[in-house]
Symmetry: C2
Subunit: 369 residues, 2 copies
DNA sequence: CTGAAAGCGCTAACAA
DNA sequence: TTGTTAGCGCTTTCAG
């Protein structure tokens, strides 16, 4: 068992004892100083710090973890996707973890992976993580979240309790979806179609539920749901099918990428957005304001969600006996741009929609609901 | 030093010795089996595996790291951004690392961070990582990549050697940028403007250099360079300025996001893409085919780059004495869609560009260069 | 093919 | 306020 040395067999890395010797104190005192414990005289502290600096000392986290039973590492189970939502959430988690003094260990589970989330959690536990965050969860068999460390589920609606040591945090995406749907209804549309995400995702189900609620609350008809896989390509495919429907005046897409694909398909089918069909997206991706037409969409406060979730997780880690806290839910925002407008005037029904009409000015007040 | 137990003081986690006892062998033998070493009888191996499984044994990586001096963890320094390119690269790295049996520890450096990449590298070294990958590097002061473990710099052109134990891997983005530029030139444009990324990024500088090369090779004029920050918003701002220029018939944007913003600004200024101005992007983001017009762009093989880079890194980790290997460079692809076309016919110069022309059919052969 | 002993560098408990 | 003494659970010699 050789001590760590440079590739060329250079000098071994300095250890706590080396620093202790150099500073003329015991090794334990070095440990105390480095951990910011109380009861060290300023003088000793100064000497130790100085010696550590001089020797280029670096704490050995493996030894620390072994001795203390804590690794100061948080494991993250992410879906292997470059989608804006999940990626943003991950970014927020990393920053929050770093601020709290934790490192991040990331495992991706590609959809369809054998073992999936459960396997990923196990591998993280083996890695000795102090807590786990599951980002944007999808459905899984059995109780894959069984874990001896606290688990934060990000992207589930706030307050959901999915397991014994599980905390949930996320935006209230049902409310968001409701807001998006109502916005369109308020514009005077008789009903709104929905282009959903994959059913296995919580996020997709929440948005679907919110859409249903909004329609039900006003007694509107619920058209059949189209389903995509979050990609623009799937949005395009769904758009081709939807374009064939006679009653289509508005669509709420479960994310912006699908909304863009959808608009592309509608345009190819000769329909104009928003004059003929209104489209609402979800996420407010950075491109949303720059596509044509600029997307009306719902903005999620990814950073706030990640921040709050991680604070709760760290609290649970550091107070194992305490009750698990509950997330508050974060405020959200509907960003109205130009992809939504009042429905086309029409002789109540019939295939009038290709009629050329003058561009509707902003002055057109939406008819009362 | 208490052994790890459940929150409620439940039973301690089983250790190697426990498995050994249960299997009637020594602890060392357990270790041998678990590490897949040779010289263990099938019978013993079976018994050990069985006992481990029965007890729910999990190897303690901290202890392993402490004893062996290796953590089987690779540290990643990422730029804290949800941009498609960096995010895709990170995904590829994670998968490749996992395949090679390494865990990933991720640190983000927000641009402008104090300490920046250097600090991030130090914190990873403290974490005991066996190797480091710096993704999409940007300029830094001094030699921040000084490290006793091998470092893979992803996104620098293949073959670049930036530090003592540094491996570089990436696509040849200069060649890519050249290809994009030449494509437009081949269409008959007298020259191409460039909307560059932030100067501090290697990626931005490479693309800029490739563009210059292509123009220089044909003796074309090099118009002044516009610079953005990769965002669609910055592309829009640059577009407003470019739209005012009289000689604008084509722009090569350093990424797709900026290209989309650019097109949006050009459209707002009354210019049509591609009839009046051609636009080429870079990255082939998933939305590229679904914006209007569908983007002609350059596709980067993120996965292949990550794969190759990580293979080299792992090789360097596991063969400390060996020469550092060199990356090959990956094949790339120009994806021609509809945002590029021959330049507008014009009376040699003058503000003719708003003239309404019939839509150019595909049959228009580009004039020879 | 298998086992015994000796650490890896740190923190936890207890003294002083 | 500081030091002493035991380990944490593994891997690494080196002997069988």
């Amino acid at each position: 068992m050789t001590r760590a040395r440079g590739r060329d067999g250079g000098p071994a890395a300095p250890r706590g004892v080396d620093v202790a010797r150099a500073a003329g104190v015991s090794q334990k005192t070095v440990s105390r100083v480095l951990n910011g414990e109380r009861y060290v005289s300023v003088d000793v502290r100064r000497r130790v710090l100085e010696a550590a600096d001089r020797l280029g000392y670096r704490l050995n986290t493996a030894a620390r973890a072994l001795a203390s039973g804590r690794s100061r590492t948080i494991g993250v189970v992410a879906l292997g996707t470059a989608l804006y939502g999940p990626a943003s959430l991950l970014l927020g988690v990393e920053r929050a973890a770093r601020d709290a003094g934790y490192a991040l260990s990331v495992v991706n589970t590609l959809e369809g992976d054998q073992g999936g989330v459960g396997g990923a959690v196990q591998s993280l536990l083996e890695r000795g993580v102090d807590g786990i965050v599951v980002s944007e969860p999808i459905d899984e068999d059995a109780d894959p979240l069984a874990s001896e460390v606290p688990v934060l589920v990000l992207g589930a609606p706030a307050g959901t309790r999915t397991g014994e040591r599980t905390i949930a945090a996320g935006v209230d995406s049902e409310a968001l979806a409701r807001a998006a749907t109502e916005h369109v209804l308020d514009l005077g549309h008789p009903t709104v179609h929905h282009l959903a995400g994959p059913e296995r995702w919580f996020a997709a189900r929440d948005r679907l539920a919110g859409w249903r609620q909004a329609l039900a609350a006003r007694g509107r008809e619920q058209p059949p749901v189209a389903e995509g896989d979050w990609s623009a390509a799937s949005g395009y495919a769904a758009g081709r099918r939807l374009a064939a429907r006679n009653d289509l005046t508005a669509v709420f897409a479960a994310n912006d990428d699908m909304a863009v694909g959808l608009i592309s398909a509608l345009t190819d089918a000769g329909l104009r957005v928003p004059q003929d069909v209104s489209v609402v997206g979800f996420d407010d991706i950075p491109l949303a304001a720059y596509v044509r037409p600029p997307l009306t969409t719902v903005r999620q406060p990814f950073d706030a969600v990640a921040d709050e979730g991680l604070r709760l997780l760290v609290h649970a880690i550091e107070n194992p006996q305490a009750e698990l806290p509950t997330a508050q839910g974060q405020p959200v925002e509907l960003v109205v741009r130009s992809s939504t407008a009042p429905p086309p005037a029409r002789a109540d029904s019939g295939p009038l929609r290709h009629t050329v009409r003058p561009l509707a000015g902003e002055a057109h007040a939406p008819p009362a609901a």
